[in-house]
């Protein structure tokens, strides 16, 4: 975590004074790369604001001659997604929100509790438990997807039985519930890692003092640790939000048709083989799909980078 703080607070350093030529080359290279990184986004935005004939007939780097917002409204409410009946991506956008919010809340809360236990209430073998949970972060989902499909199929059958008996499935077999389960289970490793590393540095004396005062396990968690956890909660929420929102593998495997999350709908829209390819509508949809995570990045970029670094370098 300290590593990321260093990125945010550059320490100025004295190198032997560089010549003007060197400075020009440095700024030139940095500017050149900045353009390379920005161009795909700029082209996307410009394409989404052009009428289709201008996209197919014109230069993609040219500014829109006749500015139009029609592709955006089409992408949001009208465009045909694959073979499903729902028009536009708005419904899928909501699907993603319904999946992301509970998954982020549950996995973050569990991660916080796990981190608390693994640092302040240690027991023999806590290191092994943590190591096992940590490895869970890195498994390829291909190696769990078949058993997951079998289990979710079983849950679906239970759901059907419940509908027959009670007229209500209690969430069994619901694609959104299934995806929340997937993302909570496979996100636990990361959330636990974040909180464990954060609480590791939290003064144990404070916890001990609270114990002597007779505070219980949960009281200490709520009154002592949680009020001091705001930064790591932000990091974890952003990390989980980005990962779950951007997931494609689980979404495309376990949710079909109208129940798909945003990324799956976008992929279906872009790869529809029927009719004319509406590049401008595709790009508008892609920007809408990227908007929530980009917004989070713009607003809280510092925490965003911190989460990534913690997930990669650990500590």
């Amino acid at each position: 975590m300290t590593a990321a703080d260093l990125v945010a607070a550059p320490r100025r350093r004295n190198y032997s004074s560089q010549s003007i030529v060197t400075r020009v080359v440095i700024y030139g290279l940095l500017g050149f790369f900045a353009i390379i990184y920005l161009v795909p986004l700029i082209v996307m935005v410009m394409t989404s604001l052009k009428p289709l004939d201008e996209v197919t007939g014109g230069n993609m780097f040219a500014l829109p001659k006749s500015l139009t917002f029609a592709p955006w409204t089409r992408a949001w409410g009208e465009a045909a997604i694959g073979v499903s009946d729902t028009a536009g991506i708005s419904g899928y956008f909501m699907n993603s929100i319904k999946m992301v919010v509970p998954a982020v809340v549950i996995s973050t809360l569990l991660g916080a509790l796990n981190g608390y236990v693994l640092t302040k209430w240690r027991f023999p073998g806590h290191k092994l438990v943590f190591g096992m949970m940590l490895f869970a972060c890195f498994i390829p989902f291909q190696s769990v997807i078949i058993p997951m499909a079998v289990i979710l199929g079983l849950l679906g059958q239970i759901g059907n039985q419940l509908i027959d008996t009670f007229g209500f499935s209690f969430g069994f077999g619901n694609p959104t519930v299934n995806l929340v389960l997937c993302h909570v289970v496979y996100g636990l490793g990361f959330t636990t890692l974040f909180f464990r590393n954060y609480y590791e540095a939290f003064p144990t004396e404070l916890v001990k003092a609270a114990m002597i005062d007779g505070a219980s396990f949960f009281q200490i968690f709520r009154r002592v640790l949680l009020p001091n956890s705001t930064p790591i909660i932000i990091v974890t929420v952003i990390y989980q939000f980005t990962n779950i929102w951007n997931d494609f593998l689980f979404g495309s495997t376990f949710a079909a048709g109208d129940q798909s999350p945003m990324t799956v709908a976008l992929n279906n829209l872009v790869n529809t083989s029927t009719g004319v390819v509406e590049y401008n509508v595709n790009m508008a949809a892609a920007i809408i799909a990227a908007a929530p995570t980009l917004f989070v990045y713009v607003v809280a970029g510092r925490y965003f980078v911190r989460g990534l670094m913690a997930g990669a370098v650990k500590g």
């Binding site: 990125v7 900045a34 390379i36 993609m60 078949i146 289970v185 951007n246 593998l249 990534l308």
Partner: protein, 315 residues
């Protein structure tokens, strides 16, 4: 546990209190247990299940009929079946090309940008987020953008033709033999900023005194980096390579979105091979075998790394 010693007072009610404190001592384990159980079942149990399936003749549905190493033998012979290439052969070649380019270019670009940014740059606060923002996008969005950008009909090739260079040809994204390189380009664009952030954190962590000493000794900037800074950052290289390697093996959605659902399996990777054999070609046994191979590869990379990281922390 600390609680026991604190409140385990010897009174008449002593026995009841010790029972209560014993129960309280159990609370942390009870809190951690559900998460650990979920990980045990959904990660380790499911992985074992997939390993089991790789020894069965499962087709469209899971089967329990064991057939020994037949699936592994099949993949082994396919690994060398290059005329006509089996899709597993293509997947192996492609992961070599993609993974190699992805790791090398991300490292090179990331290090270059980090060193350039570390030269007391004005406007670092603007440049850094520009290099990093692609990370916030989902691979599906990235793929959609690059597919349009590289499309010879409306993208880069067309634009260069419009500018007057009419013999310019760049049709990789629709050329089955070159598609995988486009996937690599999009992947590098997405992840190199992250590697830059890792290196930048590493650079900012280098002790300024060492650099001052080098400067006094008359070392040039180049020599300082080449002989002092980069060797100090060896652990960052290791972390970056491991993170990139495991991301390359897991890459799945990027291939589908850049190539438009991987036509003809031209850009096959082990991840897409696993998916198509399991869910569309009804050869689940072979699919789970390829999943096991992916898992083993990642485990071989991650476990020694995680082990050393966790051990270092104790010291």
């Amino acid at each position: 546990m600390a609680v026991t010693t604190v409140s385990g007072a010897v009174t008449d009610r002593g026995r009841r209190i010790t029972l209560r404190t014993r129960l309280q001592g159990l609370v942390p384990k009870l809190v951690l247990a559900p998460s650990f159980l979920l990980v045990l079942i959904f990660v380790y149990g499911f992985n074992l299940w997939t390993v089991f399936l790789s020894f069965t003749n499962s087709r469209a549905f899971t089967s329990t009929k064991l057939i020994g190493f037949a699936n592994y033998e099949k993949l082994w012979t396919w690994t060398f079946e290059s005329d006509p290439p089996s899709s597993w052969y293509t997947a192996i070649v492609n992961i070599g090309i993609f993974g190699g380019l992805y790791i090398v270019f991300c490292l090179a670009l990331g290090l270059t940008l980090a060193i350039l940014l570390d030269q007391k740059i004005r406007g670092e606060g603007i440049l850094r987020p520009i290099y990093l923002y692609p990370l916030a996008l989902s691979f599906i969005v990235t793929g959609t953008a690059w597919k349009l950008f590289l499309d010879p009909g409306i993208g880069l090739e067309k634009a260069v033709h419009d500018w007057g260079w009419t013999s310019f040809k760049f049709d990789w994204v629709v050329n089955p033999r070159m598609m995988i390189y486009c996937v690599a380009i999009a992947g590098i664009w997405q992840t190199s900023g992250f590697v830059m952030a890792m290196f930048l954190a590493g650079l900012r962590g280098v002790d300024g005194e060492i650099l001052k000493a080098a400067q006094i000794d008359g070392a040039s900037t180049y020599a300082t980096y080449r002989r002092i800074v980069i060797p100090i950052m060896r652990p960052v290289f290791l972390s970056a390579i491991i993170v990139l390697a495991h991301m390359a093996i897991k890459s799945y959605d990027l291939v589908l979105s850049v190539t438009g659902k991987n036509p003809g399996g031209a850009a096959e990777l082990p991840s897409t091979f696993m998916y198509s054999y399991t869910f569309t070609r009804n050869q689940m046994g072979v699919g789970s075998t390829s999943a096991v191979i992916m898992l083993m590869t990642i485990a071989a990379i991650m476990i020694p790394y995680l082990y050393s990281e966790l051990r270092e922390k104790r010291q």
